[in-house]
Symmetry: C2
Subunit: 187 residues, 2 copies
């Protein structure tokens, strides 16, 4: 979605089958020892991991439209909300995915009660995000940023994990609909 | 430590007693609805939360010494390692703190086995970090960055939680000693 918002078209995409373990091969471990996607291969042979590191790299090469903020304060606010999206909402959602969906039932270290507790955390965050979006078009005022992209992807992942936005969170639902309607969201 | 590395001296510090709940007052919630420290109060009345958002803000106002990287690739690599420090090591350490130390025993949603599992995760990460530091003075080559600050703080927090670096991880121990010896580490 970030690449589509930037209008970058010359990045070749290679899709790995994670269920088949294609991120655990020696070839892929040489690219990212942490065995996670995505990885960006640079022309000079370097490999970059971590989505936000890749986004920041692409942002420097393609500064328009600015998605990390247009001035010092805004850049700090984008980082602030992006991290709330990730450290609060995404970590809770990931815990629901692992512990609360049943998808990993029977594996070591899966605690369904911990999954349930994190479903409550996601709902509490939806409550706070909804309050914030009552007075803000996007996470940072009227400025669409990478924080909105992170939040949309996380909220849709949470929905996949069985945690949807309740109907009464009208501001969050209005925001989600607006961001999901962007052409980039289909990328 | 970041502020000390930058040599910024005109930031007044107010310490909150978290055990007494001073971050849960209405006054503090107005500054950061997520009720976390640190918060930076700006001269124009804005409040910034999230450590890395605050560091990036201060970095723009005080660019020397550069702690987020000196060129496009290095900035991406600093972000890459900073995020590995946080999303891998810090989240595992936080899980040990909550579930594996006994400090929260008897509270809701505390799973000692999950704490133990995360102790293993921390050790696996120490193994990977040690391998990386066999060929790198700091996390990003020979360049000291905010990724080293994040890692030092996290590793010392893990030690407080009962997870120390094993003696055989000589490269990680060498790195820790060098970073902890910086005057800023006493800040």
């Amino acid at each position: 979605m970030f690449i589509a918002e930037k209008g970058i078209e010359n990045i070749e995409t290679i899709t790995l089958n994670l269920q088949a373990g294609e991120h655990r091969t020696p070839e892929f471990k040489a690219k990212n020892p942490f065995q996670r996607v995505p990885v960006l291969e640079l022309d000079d042979g370097h490999y970059l991991s971590e989505s936000m590191a890749i986004c920041r790299y692409l942002d420097e090469l393609h500064p328009k439209p600015a998605l990390f903020g247009r001035n010092t304060l805004e850049r700090a606010q984008v980082e602030e909300w992006n991290r709330r999206d990730e450290f609060n909402l995404l970590t809770a959602t990931a815990a629901v995915f692992r512990h609360g969906t049943g998808l990993f039932a029977g594996q070591d270290n899966v605690f369904p009660e911990w999954g349930e507790a994190n479903k409550n955390t996601v709902q509490k965050l939806y409550h706070m995000f909804n309050k914030h979006l009552a007075n803000n078009t996007y996470f940072v005022g009227d400025y669409f940023s990478v924080a909105d992209i992170t939040a949309l992807c996380t909220i849709d992942f949470a929905k996949f994990c069985g945690v949807s936005i309740p109907d009464e969170k009208a501001h969050l639902i209005r925001w989600r609909k607006a961001v999901a309607a962007r052409p980039s969201a289909k990328a």
